[in-house]
Symmetry: C2
Subunit: 441 residues, 2 copies
């Protein structure tokens, strides 16, 4: 058997401890598969005295990640610190320059500095693996970098944030408002005290940026992503979607179009007939459309100690077995510049919810605005929220707005946005119109 | 750039031609990813004059697969001939012994001779890759061999045969009988003239045998699989399942139990709330339960030229990039002997459909037989098939059997089988009871 592979693990939070547990539970298994032992030679974390519920026997303690990263006692630096700059970035660079392989779960770091770090890794002849950075235990990085590598990818999309999916699922199943469910999620630890990062779509966007680069062989372009969160989704939308045969999911989507690449994060309607519609709670999924493979969908745990540790361990195993790949499919020098498609030219169908004032000419005015821009309708439904107190035949208060839901035929983002702006300005609706893209699956 | 990787492709049917098309479409892409060109140096097939709709320019023609396999002009032998013995086996062995890597889509060959061929491959220091042998474009082999390799797998299961899933889906959606749908599937080319291999569960079993070995590091043990096909599924079962919140799917399941491994292929009830329930038509899926990763589900095209070619190409790319893995997770010499769990000890809930004679004491007799063996019921439904002419309140002909559907609580296979045998023998039912396992997801 060859020399053991020596890991330095920086960051002993949930994931770090999960990884140590996995290595302790499955040491002999890994040695058999890899043909060599995998040992943790050193660790770095803030507090050396904290009880983490497991033995650090035989591991050298380092006070800073950077010192661990440079230490000759390790072959692989495992970065589980987090943060898009600061100590994580410094330590990863130190490790790569010291010819250590790097395994990281840090999507924020890679979304911001991925291309540059890939270049440094390649220059130093080492691996930069990041299976755990996207969708936890779902092996989407390996799938795109290896299994589907022979395909021209047309689209990659997925449910990449468990917090959002949990909130949307609870809103549907328990008929509760966004605010209520968010509060509960915070109490249960499914959402952060400041939830903006998750519910605003930024976490999803970090992951999407990495998937986009792998899909199209382009430089990582997080700053080019169109991002909308789920804050504006109401119980009325959830119910209307259900009636119309849809679920609302926060999707990250990267799509190759003739004019460039669309990268977008936004709530989307997906058909209840699709497997994605059944991906509920904190579960994540990612789907890839390849020109030869067709549509491949992966579903699993997107977060948590075990799932993330499994992903980190698979990256470590690859290194132990001698597998080396360019971090983003092709060598960093060959990554193409990112060319952004205009979202205004996005083609698709749309869900629109309007609060229409009940007065003569209101609907005619709305229909006119849509018609002007060539937006035609597949369906139009006037609906009251479930559990509303208005009985059959009862009339709403004169002048009070009536909820109207429209599903458009395929049109452009420019056309629908233009029409909705005009409709709002005309004063026929009491609030800003709600618009949700329908994603064809 | 390194030397080109030279392929010898044996078998130019649908998949072989699909592979050549992929290589012609994406040659530069593959070269960029692999760092070397991938070229087809030689081909072997039955008829050199057949028009395959693409150019074989620059490829040397071989009359037999075996000669191609041994030829010094190739580095990788791609076996797309099929068959569990005969020319395919001979050529694969020849290639391995001549130190050629082998890529094969041949599940029958591997189900029968996988352990032995893995040993020969390892002895000669070459790869034996077979991503295309299981579930077409779904990268399940790579997922199990690499991505989830750090996990102790508890269960792997899936919908592995498109023909069966198409038939079951059509029976549900079009309310047609098994025989009708099968005939149509044969006309459309979704089912073979002799469909036994698919609908009898044997094709699923071949694939399952490979997944089992990868999951548990055991020798391939196809002959140890309990196999039931879908021939006995009736429209009554499909409808009753739908009413009860289930879909019927032909599953291959490998489960680690305390007494050994259960390997079984049979129709199973899966909850309509699960993502698997939405896997319809010819689509396939595979799910893996890992101790750290949790449940990971992969869905995609299980067959067809494009999907299978994508899988073959990913195996070829791995070889081109220098990735080498033991075919069945651990070196062949370390594969454990397969230890079969007794299916009689299988624990689970069951769906049972009985045609009960409408006479005094019949139900009491049935209940007694179940009670004797400790089988308790979660629900019991007396139901007429949809579209039956019997109106509300109308009574069936005296003495005619009444369809009764039972869902049991968890019990053992031994108990339920014993009870059903006794019920049949007692003469309270007009035909052999139908029994379908409920698979918890």
């Amino acid at each position: 058997m060859s020399q053991p592979l020596r890991l330095g693990v920086a960051g002993l939070g949930t994931v770090g401890v999960g990884l140590l547990r996995l290595l302790q539970a499955h040491g002999p298994r890994l040695a058999e598969i890899a043909g060599r032992e995998v040992v943790v030679a050193g660790v770095a974390a803030r507090d050396p005295h904290k009880d983490r519920g497991l033995s650090l026997d035989g591991m050298t303690w380092f006070d800073t990640a950077d010192r661990l990263a440079a230490d000759p006692s390790i072959d692989v630096f495992v970065e589980l610190i987090g943060g898009d700059d600061g100590p994580a970035k410094a330590a990863v660079e130190t490790a790569l320059r010291a010819h250590k392989h790097v395994v990281t779960a840090n999507k924020a770091l890679l979304a911001k500095h991925g291309t540059e770090l890939a270049r440094i890794a390649e220059k130093n002849g080492v691996a930069l693996n990041f299976e755990a950075a996207v969708a936890g235990g779902i092996p989407i990085i390996k799938t795109m970098r290896e299994a589907l590598a022979a395909n021209q990818i047309r689209r990659v999309y997925g449910i990449l944030n468990g917090t959002c999916n949990y909130i949307l699922t609870q809103m549907l199943e328990e008929h509760r408002s966004f605010g209520d469910v968010l509060k509960e999620a915070q109490l249960k630890g499914y959402a952060e005290a400041d939830p903006t990062f998750d519910i605003g779509g930024f976490d999803t966007a970090h992951k999407l940026a990495l998937l986009t680069s792998l899909a199209f062989g382009t430089r990582v372009a997080f700053e080019q992503i169109h991002i909308e969160g789920i804050e504006r989704i109401t119980q009325a939308d959830i119910e209307a979607a259900d009636d119309l045969g849809y679920r609302i999911k926060l999707l990250g989507v990267a799509l190759l179009t003739e004019s460039g690449i669309e990268q977008r994060v936004h709530p989307a309607m997906v058909s209840t007939d699709s497997a994605i519609a059944e991906v509920s709670g904190v579960t994540n999924c990612v789907a890839v459309d390849g020109d030869f493979a067709g549509n491949v969908l992966l579903v699993g745990r997107g977060a948590g100690a075990g799932a993330t540790a499994s992903a980190v361990a698979s990256d470590v195993l690859d290194i132990a077995r001698g597998t080396r790949h360019a971090p983003f499919l092709v060598p960093a020098a060959k990554l193409k510049p990112y060319k952004r498609a205009k979202l205004g030219q996005h083609q698709g169908a749309y869900y629109v919810r309007l609060a229409v004032f009940d007065r003569p000419g209101a609907m005619a005015g709305i229909a006119g605005r849509l018609g002007e821009r060539g937006v035609s309708l597949e369906s139009i439904v006037q609906r009251r929220p479930r559990g509303s107190q208005i009985g059959i035949g009862a009339k709403p208060k004169p002048g009070a707005p009536t909820p109207v839901v429209l599903i458009t035929h395929e049109t452009t983002e420019e056309a629908i946005r233009g029409a909705l702006t005009a409709i709002h300005r005309d004063g026929n609706v009491s609030e800003r119109p709600q618009m949700i893209r329908i994603e064809p699956l």
